[in-house]
Assembly symmetry: C2
Homo-oligomer: 249 residues x 2
């Protein structure tokens, strides 16, 4: 039997999980999916995810891959895994890919969305998915101008979680914008890579600056400081969602 | 101090509740709201709801009212109640209304929406809000034709829960339609009144008939039978939501 490489696209409500990455004695997304695959393929199976989302963070388009000798079709595998997973983790796509596809290293970009509910009363349905910020009312034009200033190649150390040191703190930010949709304000950032805690630190900083004088200039200074203490506090995890991972393959 | 009449508009995720109506030793929406109001007004307070939603049923526009001597502004009251409520129940509007306003008896219509996720894999985010029906693929044109046949004045006994006997089983159905929105199929019905279990029985019947020969004729026969056993099985509670209550006042 030949070894096959299967790509999974995954949606999850991260509310009740200790993040993506498998940990001993903690409920994690990776852990539940690996357990289901191990049962179905009857072989200890490990998966690689494109992005390591933190506790409480969601995904609508996480990608993972695994190698298996199992001969099921991707559609049958998807159905079988979904039947074993808790209802807040769902495989939304499965496909056989080339042997060298690697969910993490082959990715050309990741997109994260941060969502804020910006009105005076909360939402029963979005309670775990949008950061409830009754005030101030966000100046979306100003927040979007700050977002645009982030596009390009930058050392993002100012937005890296303390202790989250990555060898290379330079990120290539392809797209960054802010827009309003009724009472929701969304920030979306697409980049080749993200440092730990980066989107939440950027969201917190944009919120801090959104109504300041010269917010774009202030944001550039924070970026150039390469110092986490120069930026704003992190926005809460529950407003964050990994929406898409792109591959050139 | 004069007695004031306050109208509340309420959104809730019904997943973890035994329905709207207060019951001893069970978590209910009415129970939580009354407890919060009793604490805030420091007087035993009872509320009247426009519609009694069942266990697991949601609302995005339930309406209730209560009489109080408390002198807080409606906005201050809304904020105080929301601070005491669990996060899956939210007061989305509060207003002082005329003394004779009664959430139930003054209502001129109620609108319920039934939502089905009609694709091969479930949704992590809509897991408690849309009935997951992987197959068959619903014929929306046919389902909508059946919905249109429901408009008008009808004895709806065929869609009344056994034992849910209401003195008058005649409902005036103002609007009834079915439409598709990506992988979701929605049914929406607006009527002066609903019998117990009516929308779920209608949704189940439409699903049973959606691809039948002459579905509209068959639906008319079921309606004319005035017998619950003539109709289809009830669709599950978690796909149902009370979206709006209208008042002529």
């Amino acid at each position: 039997m030949s070894d096959r490489n299967i790509k999974l696209t995954i949606e999850y409500d991260g509310t009740h999980y200790h993040g993506w990455q498998i940990q001993r004695n903690a409920a994690t997304i990776q852990g539940f999916i690996q357990n289901a695959l191990t049962k179905i393929t009857q072989t200890e199976t490990q998966i690689v995810g494109a992005g390591r989302t933190d506790t409480g963070v969601h995904a609508s388009g996480q990608v993972a891959n695994f190698h298996t000798h199992a001969q099921m079709s991707p559609a049958a595998l998807q159905k079988a895994v979904n039947a074993l997973l808790p209802s807040d983790i769902v495989i939304i796509g499965a496909a056989e890919v080339s042997p060298d596809f690697h969910a993490r290293f082959s990715a050309s970009s990741r997109t994260y969305r941060y969502t804020i509910l910006n009105r005076v009363y909360p939402s029963a349905f979005l309670r775990n998915r949008a950061y409830f910020l009754p005030r101030p009312t966000i100046n979306v034009d100003s927040a979007n101008a700050v977002c645009r200033a982030l596009i390009g190649n930058h050392d993002c150390s100012s937005f890296q979680r303390t202790g989250g040191g990555r060898a290379n703190p330079v990120c290539d930010i392809y797209e960054s914008r802010c827009w309003k949709e009724e009472d929701l304000v969304h920030f979306e950032i697409e980049a080749d890579a993200f440092l730990r805690g980066m989107v939440r630190a950027i969201a917190g900083t944009i919120l801090k600056l959104h109504d300041a004088a010269s917010p774009v200039d202030q944001f550039r200074k924070i970026l150039e400081a390469r110092d986490r203490s120069a930026a704003g506090a992190s926005a809460p995890a529950y407003g964050l969602c990994l929406t898409r991972v792109k591959y050139d393959l």
